[in-house]
Symmetry: C2
């Protein structure tokens, strides 16, 4: 059969064909030798590769014959600028770590320049590791949002709120005002969403929570918060508020489908159905929870209750990388150990947590997270030809249990290619790395010595 006339073919900006395609919806599906068709930044078709080139006339055709094509990963909880503190203070009790290292370092060093340079380093790392969207919480959200805009990545940038004064704001009212002002600047931005980010129940007062709830409902905007991270947080709340944090949040009207509750290592049997009935998403950060000895989030129980579980790396101070492949592996492994069941958290479920569930938790479930026609083309290719990922019986298993972040070869966000054959196209990697090294030199000099002297 002769090929159809070019004039009879549909136009497209881009076709990516790959050995395997994992659309994430439906869960567990793997398509052999398929192609994704992109036009105006959106997915317009997903079909056998042989048919794609018959039906579409693309401006660009990319073939990845030993790769998996899948949705970009969604890192549902991080503090991107903290990459500049990576490895500065490890293996310490939580109180020592926070009180003697992280908080003093933040008080001394954090400013707009620090936040910009740290966020850029984080975004370079995430890009190279296949993360196309991240959910951030840090000071100077306006600076972070500008950096995201320039990077080509997608993010939810938290309008952080605390009662405590910092370099960014004096009190909860000022945090909120400055956050909302930043939100106004980025209203309608195709890749930047500004969402509410009250830090945690123990750092935010009832009145501030009430105001955030009103605003979030009115603006239909997500809320990103640390909740039930440690046992001491629970006991402090019981002393101060005579109730557990979740009960307090429920009474304040915060437990809604808008809430992405991060950590959740301390849950009673009764709290799990409560979360499910309120439609709250849980963001699981297994490596951070382990490293800080915070406790274990019972994700097999949460999943059984029907709760949407997303996955996050947390910041580089408590992980120490922003590697969603490592986080998927830690999640799948730890869930089995905690549930004492080797069939807990199967690979396809965990891949869903790192993609579609993350998108849902951030209010982006209709826009990204799976390879479905009409969604934005946030996609990545992963090269499975390395010895460590051969042979391939099951590409989903390979991604979760054996793939390293370095096997990500290509990344697109909204159809724009940001990483091509491992090379960043937009980020100026040497300049970003030089600025990170310059911060290290300043911080190390101020500490009087480098850590290993």
């Amino acid at each position: 059969m002769p090929p159809p006339e070019a004039s009879a073919m549909y136009p497209a900006d881009l076709i990516i064909s790959a050995r395997w395609t994992i659309p994430v919806e439906p869960e567990g599906q793997v398509l052999d030798d398929h192609a994704l068709v992109v036009r105006d930044g959106r997915i317009v078709d997903l079909l056998p590769a042989a048919e794609a080139t018959q039906r579409y006339a693309p401006r660009e055709l990319i073939r990845r014959p030993q790769h998996v094509l899948l949705p970009g990963l969604v890192n549902a909880h991080t503090h991107s600028p903290m990459t500049l503190f990576r490895g500065m203070a490890d293996d310490l009790p939580l109180d020592t770590w926070l009180n003697e290292h992280i908080w003093p370092a933040e008080a001394r060093w954090v400013d707009g320049g620090f936040v910009r340079d740290g966020a850029e380093l984080a975004m370079l790392e995430m890009l190279q590791g296949g993360t196309t969207c991240f959910n951030d919480m840090y000071f100077f959200p306006d600076v972070i949002a500008r950096a995201v805009d320039a990077s080509g990545l997608r993010a939810c940038v938290g309008m952080i709120v605390l009662e405590q004064a910092t370099v960014w704001a004096r009190d909860a009212g000022e945090y909120l005002r400055k956050g909302l002002a930043a939100r106004d600047q980025f209203r309608g931005h195709p890749r930047v969403s500004m969402i509410f980010a009250p830090h945690a129940p123990y750092t935010v007062a009832d009145d501030s929570f009430r105001e955030i709830r009103l605003l979030a409902n009115e603006l239909d905007t997500q809320i990103h918060m640390h909740v039930h991270e440690t046992a001491s947080e629970i006991s402090a709340s019981q002393k101060r508020h005579a109730r557990r944090p979740l009960q307090r949040l429920d009474e304040l009207g915060l437990l809604t489908p808008l809430l992405a509750a991060v950590h959740m290592t301390q849950l009673t049997a009764g709290e799990i159905p409560l979360l499910a009935s309120r439609g709250v998403s849980v963001v699981h950060c297994p490596e951070s929870n382990l490293k800080l000895a915070s406790g274990f989030c019972p994700i097999a129980d949460l999943a059984a209750a029907g709760i949407n579980i997303a996955l996050g790396t947390d910041g580089a101070s408590s992980n120490n990388d922003l590697d969603m492949f490592g986080e998927m592996r830690s999640c799948a492994l730890l869930a089995k150990g905690v549930a004492q069941r080797a069939d807990a958290a199967p690979a396809a479920t965990v891949l869903g947590m790192a993609t579609l569930n993350g998108a849902k938790a951030l209010g982006l479930g209709d826009r990204i997270g799976s390879l479905v026609t009409g969604k934005e083309a946030d996609v990545i290719c992963v090269d499975l030809s390395a010895a460590a990922t051969q042979p391939v019986y099951d590409p989903v298993s390979q991604l979760v249990y054996a793939t390293s972040r370095d096997q990500v070869s290509d990344v697109w966000v909204a159809g724009r290619q940001l990483l091509a054959d491992h090379q960043p196209l937009v980020a100026d990697a040497p300049a970003i790395l030089a600025r990170a090294e310059s911060w290290r030199a300043r911080l190390s000099a101020a500490r009087g010595s480098v850590a290993h002297d």
Copy 2:
């Protein structure tokens, strides 16, 4: 000061200088801008790089200005040929996994060719990930030993013993005879040690254990065995032998410094001092224990009792990679969660487990595992210039908490370079990968369909 005459300088085969050197002995030490001097396959000096080029005239000088130089990693427990089953059956209850997938697949497919091709794939993966020595347990140890010889890597190859008949031997007596015959072939080999590998207390009878104990003592040869991997193993032993496996092994005289006991997820408070007093090494396999939901090895308690703890990946069927960087990270993180102490298993301790402690567990503590004059030059370089490992406050933290296996740039074993700037020099990677793919095609065809159909 003018440089000394070349004739006044000491000859050397190789000098490797690096931005940081971590000798592992003493624990936690990091040397800036040092150089390792190698002659006749051994370390002859470790000194400031500037002095090295004044004092030695090497045939080869390698500079790694953004890298860490450290001892090669020791994978103290694996089943290398099982890489050919990688990802074939995951997320299943232990019984289903073993009885319906792994054992039938082994019965059908394992022969000398399978073992050779699987071991070669495993060694390529380990080489590229910085593992220079591994401790193996599988059928056809003679085939594995020949593959190790050809690869240039170092290994302890287990003389496997079971009561049960397999393609390799009919009964424990034949396993032992065939193992000892292979040992004779490799006697005095500089990189291959054949050690005893009774599979586990539940698969080996008392008489066989007595014979192994006599031979091990007589030949001063290590013993590599799965011990206390699961709770069901304990209860089965209590039914059959009216005692826990460790008590039985102690009565049989197996608990000695020659024993490397793998897994140990089920330990009573009384068993820890017993292990310590007998000088037994424990090989911890955190990712396998999690993936199979076997339980948690209490390594913080073992370390406090002074027990030598090594680290292993286990086979690719239960991990699913042979990545010692990932295993170090999982070890350091999980130990904190299990001990409920963020200061458990600090990075330098975990790096010691993956190097010197592994060497000790395998009876090689005086030959490898640290950068000490007189030891064999099994060393690796790791490039920390990636965004995910910048900035560098503490290279030890970076290796354990943030480095990916792909950052290993160079590997030497006994002074011979096997990996240069990420490229294998001895292994024929394309041929090894093609053979792995050919096994996958055969196995998939026989199963009637590939896993994702």
